[in-house]
Symmetry: C2
C-alpha cells in the first residue's frame, strides 16, 4: 500500500511552504517512513475531496486518510510506535504546538505574508491576496509595513525557546521530537518564502535551527528557500 502526503507548493512544485506540512514531513522522516510527497496548490481543494475537506496536509496511508497536522502526528505515533514522536502521551506535548500555532505563527504571518504571492502560480495570487486581505482587513503590504521595527518584539517573544536551547540541544532534550518539528515548521515556512532576517547573528536559536536543518541528511536544508542572511 502506498503512502502519500499532500503538501502546499508554490509555482515551483519543489517549493513547499506550509508550516503544518513541514511538521509532518519531518515527523515522517523521524519515523523513518517513506512517502510520496505530492504538491498541492491553493484553489485545488477539489482534488482533496476524498478527504472530506479542502486543506493540506493530508496523509493517505494505505486505506487510511488523515487530515489536520495534529491528527496526522498522533495517528503516526499510534500506527508506528517505534521511534516515538512524543515523550509520553501526545497531550502533554501539546503546549509547544499550541504556542507555535498561536504566538509564533500569528507573528510570522504579520512579518512575511506579503512575500508569499511572488512564489505562487499567477492564477493563485489573486485567490491568496483576496482571502488573506479579507482576514487581515487590509492589504498584504499594509500588514507587513514597518516590519523591521517589529523584529525586536518578535525576537523577544522567542525567549522561551532561547532559554531552552541554552540548556539542551533540542526542545525534546537530547533528541528532537514533535515539539521541535512544530516550531521548526514555522521557521522553515518563513525560510522558504522570505528573506527577512528573523534571527540576529548571535542568537543561540541559530544553532538549534542549524541542527534541525541538518536532520535526516539535510532534508529541510535542501528545500528551495530564500537567503535571509
Amino acid at each position: 500500500m502506498g503512502r502519500i502526503l499532500y503538501e502546499l507548493a508554490g509555482a515551483d512544485p519543489a517549493r513547499r511552504f506550509s508550516p503544518y506540512c513541514w511538521r509532518i514531513r519531518m515527523a515522517l522522516a523521524h519515523k523513518g517512513l517513506e512517502a510520496d510527497c505530492r504538491p498541492w496548490r491553493f484553489t485545488e481543494g477539489q482534488s482533496l475531496a476524498f478527504s472530506g475537506q479542502d486543506k493540506v496536509p493530508v496523509l493517505v496511508d494505505g486505506e487510511t486518510v488523515v487530515t489536520d497536522s495534529w491528527a496526522i502526528a498522533t495517528y503516526l505515533e499510534a500506527a508506528y510506535p517505534d521511534r516515538p514522536l512524543f515523550p509520553g502521551k501526545p497531550a502533554a506535548s501539546r503546549f509547544v504546538v499550541s504556542w507555535a500555532d498561536t504566538t509564533l505563527n500569528t507573528q510570522l504571518s504579520r512579518l512575511i505574508v506579503s512575500d508569499i504571492p511572488a512564489w505562487l502560480m499567477p492564477e493563485h495570487r489573486e485567490y491568496f491576496r483576496t482571502s488573506r486581505e479579507a482576514r487581515f482587513g487590509m492589504t498584504l503590504e499594509a500588514v507587513t509595513d514597518g516590519r523591521e521595527a517589529r523584529l525586536p518584539g518578535f525576537r523577544a517573544s522567542l525567549a522561551p525557546l532561547r532559554a531552552l536551547v541554552r540548556a539542551q540541544p533540542f526542545l525534546g532534550g537530547d533528541q528532537p521530537d514533535y515539539g521541535d518539528y512544530a516550531v521548526f515548521g514555522s521557521l522553515q515556512w518563513a525560510r522558504c518564502v522570505s528573506s527577512l532576517p528573523l534571527l540576529e547573528r548571535e542568537d543561540p536559536l541559530r544553532g538549534w535551527r542549524d541542527r534541525m536543518l541538518d536532520l535526516f541528511g539535510g532534508l529541510a536544508r535542501a528545500a528551495p528557500h530564500c537567503d535571509a542572511d
Copy 2:
C-alpha cells in the same frame, strides 16, 4: 527523616507568593509527599546558607538539600517515581516551564510588582523596592503605570494556553502535570498579591484555573489571596 520546603512569605507567614515555590508546593502534593513548608522572607538569605545559596525554594529531604525549582522537580521525579510529574523525560516538558519563566513571568511582573510591598514586613519593603527598582531602572509605580491598558496584550499572550484548555482539561492532558504547576504558580503568585483582574469573565482559562485551585482538596484556593473579581 523530615522533609522541609522553604517558601517566600509576606508579613503574614501564611501568605506565600513566589511562583517558583508554588510549583514545588503543588508538585509535592501531586506526589502525595508531606512537607513542613516554612516561611522565608527577603533578606533572610543567611538562614539558607546551608544550601550554598540564598534563594527559595529550597527543599530539604532527609539528608538531601536541593535548590532551584526545576532541580527540585526533577529530583522529586527521580526519588519518587510513583505518580509521575512528567509525561516522559523531564527535558521534554521544559518548554512550557520556559514559557512561564520568560513570557508569562516577565509580563506579570510588569503588571503586579507595585502591589507586592504592601504584603511585606515593613523592614523588607525597602530591600524589595531598591533591588527591583534597580532591575527595572524605574520606580515600581512607574513599572505598573497604565497597566490596565496592557491587559489586552497580556491576555492575548495567553493564546497558547487558551487553545490548549479548549481541547483538554489540563496542559498535561486528562490530568495535571508539572507544566500545569509551572504556569499555575505564576497565576497563583499574582492571586496572592494583586487584585488586578488578569482574566476576562468569559475567558476559558478561568475553568482551568478553577480546576487547579480545586486540586488536592483546594490547597491553592485556601491560601491567603486578594479578590481580583
